[in-house]
């Protein structure tokens, strides 16, 4: 009897709850996104999970002092004012950056954003003895705060950040430092684990629900400081789906509205079901980073050029279902940093054969080289079939490529050490995709001879006085236009030197249901989902 009453009351309550919530749910515009991540990124401020974490959590819940303008698809996303209205380095030392803050900005918890909050957040990342220091966030922000020496409040709406050395690309680093609410941290008793479930930033979305490894539900922040970026959807449900076929099935079965990175071989099926496939140029290179260590055959420019000319990039792009474009350098030809290289990166096996013959090699007497590649990994696209494709291309002009296949994290460990480290002995190239976001990680830090890991990204030890001169000059040029010119010269020079083997640039495909409207795919690792809604 008691059980019957219990069931009856449960039924009645459920029906009532359903009746009460039904109209709200019907009215709510929900955007459901399937990510490639296997866990929801850190929600406390600095997100984990790389670019995807920044895209869906970082720039959704939070803002940085400097932001990206992701409103256009026809140009590489430029920097834009974020929580700072303006920023400039002092003329005398070029190390003191003054940030004038945006007034009247509130955190999701209602507390005010000011200069104290900025300093508090930098302490959170850098000052190990501060009560709010958080190792998890600090490790995520390591790259962004590497050059910061000190910081202080000038007045409630002005902050001064001093860099260790003059650094013209500093705004490209501060763009990654997310500002979380000191008030919320205090409210949660100083426990970042609790803050994770109830975070507070200044971003256009607010976290409503977090289920680790399953979902994060974000609701729109109707009071967002930028009225143009108040979300068009009421709720965004971010789901974890690391398996690509699962994501495709979820979209086809209308379980989600948007999926990241559909596999190329599923695109025809998705298109036939009426799904939108959205691609755009994307600062994401898929190259071979060459070793210049003693004994490396790539010390010979003829060999480097031959390798660049041996690859049938159009065939590879076709194999990838059109989800990439052939590389013509580290950046695409329309990029402000492209410059005017004289060496044209193209498919020219005849010239490649000639160069290899000149260097003393041929298909009959091949040059043996070993490339370290991964089985999978963030941004690695389809590493195994792509490398096999290129292996055949290179074989045709006189390379005998041995692929040293390793797991993604193992490859990353190898990249963290320079090419002449004992662990990298015998490896002549590393197939590690790279982002081309800021001048340092794109050009300066890969071409400068002193920027060997861990101080930069020059894994192979490329050393050239002219490249050094141009890289140093670009790093110290504070006028953005002049800096672009110098970066163009640097880029043209490293292409002429065939510094790496550039293969393709990822087009960052994503698929969405036919009724998803408003998305503008920026030429960026990050995207703005605020204008997107399901019609």
């Amino acid at each position: 009897m008691a059980f019957t009453r219990f069931v009856a009351s449960l039924f009645a309550t459920s029906t009532l709850a359903l009746a009460l919530t039904a109209p709200t749910q019907a009215a709510e515009k929900v955007l459901r996104v399937a990510s490639t991540m296997s866990d929801i990124p850190l929600t406390t401020g600095q997100p984990s999970q790389g670019g995807e974490g920044q895209r869906f959590i970082g720039y959704a819940l939070y803002d940085a002092l400097v932001s990206w303008d992701m409103s256009r698809s026809d140009i590489p996303a430029p920097l834009a004012p974020g929580l700072a209205l303006s920023w400039a380095a002092d003329e005398a030392t070029r190390t003191k950056w003054t940030f004038k803050l945006r007034p009247d900005v509130k955190f999701h918890d209602g507390s005010a954003f000011d200069a104290e909050a900025v300093v508090w957040n930098l302490d959170k990342l850098m000052k190990r003895d501060s009560p709010q220091f958080d190792q998890a966030q600090s490790t995520q922000a390591g790259f962004y705060v590497l050059n910061i020496a000190s910081y202080k409040v000038i007045d409630p709406m002005t902050v001064e950040i001093t860099t260790k050395k003059p650094d013209a690309v500093f705004p490209f680093q501060i763009v990654g430092v997310m500002i979380s609410s000191p008030a919320r941290w205090k409210e949660m008793g100083g426990d970042w684990n609790k803050v994770a479930y109830k975070p507070s930033g200044t971003g256009p979305w607010m976290l409503d629900k977090l289920v680790q490894r399953e979902r994060a539900e974000l609701v729109k922040n109707p009071n967002y400081w930028n009225p143009k970026r108040i979300p068009q959807s009421d709720r965004m449900v971010l789901l974890t789906m690391p398996d690509p076929n699962t994501r495709v099935a979820a979209l086809l079965s209308k379980q989600v509205d948007w999926i990241e990175a559909p596999p190329p071989d599923t695109l025809p099926r998705l298109k036939s079901a009426g799904m939108q496939i959205v691609t755009n140029k994307y600062p994401h290179n898929w190259p071979y980073i060459l070793s210049y260590s003693e004994g490396s055959p790539f010390l010979d420019i003829r060999v480097r050029k031959a390798a660049n000319l041996a690859i049938d990039r159009a065939g590879l792009v076709d194999f990838l279902g059109g989800t990439a474009t052939p590389s013509v350098g580290a950046v695409d030809a329309k990029h402000p940093w492209f410059g005017n290289p004289t060496f044209k990166i193209e498919y020219n096996p005849k010239e490649a054969l000639r160069l290899m013959k000149e260097a003393g090699y041929s298909p009959e007497k091949p040059l043996r080289v070993k490339f370290a590649i991964s089985t999978s990994g963030s941004g690695q696209m389809q590493p195994l079939p792509m490398n096999e494709f290129i292996q055949e291309n290179l074989r045709a002009v006189g390379f005998d490529v041995q692929l040293d296949v390793m797991e993604w994290e193992a490859l990353r460990s190898r990249r963290r050490m320079p090419s002449d480290a004992p662990e990298n002995a015998g490896i002549h190239a590393l197939n590690n995709s790279v982002s081309v976001v800021d001048p340092f990680n794109s050009l300066i830090g890969v071409a400068l001879s002193t920027a060997r890991p861990p101080m930069g990204y020059n894994w192979g030890g490329f050393k050239d006085p002219k490249a050094d001169e141009l890289a140093l000059a670009a790093g110290l040029e504070f006028d953005p236009k002049k800096q672009d010119e110098l970066l163009g010269k640097l880029h043209a020079y490293i292409v002429d030197q065939a510094m790496w083997i550039w293969v393709v640039q990822d087009l960052n495909p994503r698929a969405m249901a036919p009724n998803v409207k408003g998305f503008v795919q920026a030429q960026s690792w990050f995207q703005d989902l605020t204008p997107v809604s399901v019609q």
Binding site: S38, D39, L42, S48, D134, Q135, A136, T139, Q140, G142, F143, L146, W192, N193, A196, V211, Q212, R213, E214, R215, L239, T240, M241, P242, D243, N245, T246, A249, A250, L252, S253, K254, Q255, M406, E407, W408, E409, A410, R412, S413, R415, R416, N441, G445, P453, P454, M455, G456, Y457
Partner: protein
């Protein structure tokens, strides 16, 4: 009986220590730096050293093991390298999610396996037996992930009847496909075990005696079932424990955030504390399940109690 239980618990201690040693060693033998997933590409040697020391990774492996084991004994499995969250906080919900799936799958597997096995045992060497046996062998032979993908394509993509993945915020429909997928192999194993046991039991003299006493088929079946139960229970116990470990493939295919999903993520990010903690907890669950089955068998089968 109490002595038997205490003995069995005592025997699990060296197993537990052995398991902890193996899981610690295997995780550390894998190539790749556990810090590579969290360190910025250009972290300075000083930062690397500081973080390595913070996680205790700067000490020799035997020392790391002893420190880790000492903490484990006090219930502290450490903190995730990636998220900074306590490992237990990460594992408990995952075990809960796998438990939901495993419980549903084992019930389905038990029901299907028992019925099919019983039918096959009773119709030995007849057409029905051959059909059931072939079905069971097929079930055991089909890879989990393949079954999962076929079910998704059929019931989610083509027919649109069921959700393809995730827990759906607790929607029971999300459980159907992963449950069936996970139940296929255990159902086949249970069916084959039940069939073999039924055939074996039915050959025994006491069954002939029961018939000779004039008991009808239904009553004899009850006696047969009672004798088959210990075998089924042992098989079910192992299968259930295996399922609790989560199937990395099934949980990944269905984006089901259980222990398999957690392990998959931890493997790819080299999150050693999560990996070690999860493997240890799962191994302990396996050991506990074996112990529980042994004890239950003692209640069900008096022969075990006597021995």
């Amino acid at each position: 009986m109490l002595r038997y239980v205490i003995h069995r618990i005592f025997y699990t201690l060296p197993i537990a220590i052995g398991v902890s040693l193996v899981c610690f060693a295997l995780v550390h033998l894998a190539p790749g730096d556990p810090l590579s997933a969290i360190l910025p590409e250009n972290a300075s040697p000083q930062i690397i050293a500081e973080i390595r020391a913070a996680y205790g990774l700067d000490k020799p492996l035997p020392v790391q093991y002893v420190i880790w084991l000492g903490k484990v004994l006090t219930g502290d499995l450490g903190a995730s390298i990636k998220t900074g969250q306590p490992v237990l906080r990460e594992i408990i919900p995952a075990v809960g999610n796998s438990l939901i799936l495993a419980a549903a799958a084992i019930c389905l597997a038990f029901a299907a396996g028992s019925v099919l096995g019983g039918v096959a045992g009773y119709t030995r060497n007849r057409v029905l037996d051959r059909v059931v046996t072939s079905t069971a062998i097929t079930g055991v032979s089909l890879p989990h992930y393949w079954v999962g993908m076929v079910l998704i394509v059929l019931f989610s993509v083509e027919l649109g009847w069921l959700p393809a993945s995730g827990m759906g915020g607790g929607n029971w429909q999300n459980m159907i496909l992963p449950t069936i997928t996970l139940a296929v192999i255990p159902a086949g194993i249970i069916a084959r075990s039940v069939r073999a046991s039924v055939i074996e039991i039915r050959k025994q003299e006491f069954v002939q005696t029961l018939y000779a006493k004039g008991l009808d088929g239904r009553r004899v079946l009850q006696h047969v079932a009672k004798n088959v139960a210990p075998t089924v229970m042992a098989v079910m116990g192992l299968q259930f424990a295996q399922m609790l470990g989560g199937s990395i493939l099934v949980e990944t295919v269905f984006a089901w955030p259980g222990t398999g999903f957690l392990l998959n993520a931890a493997i790819f990010t080299r999150d050693l504390p999560i990996l070690q903690g999860t493997i240890l907890v799962l191994a302990m669950i396996f050991v506990a399940m074996n112990l529980l089955v042994d004890i239950l068998q003692m209640f069900v089968d008096p022969r075990v109690k006597r021995s």
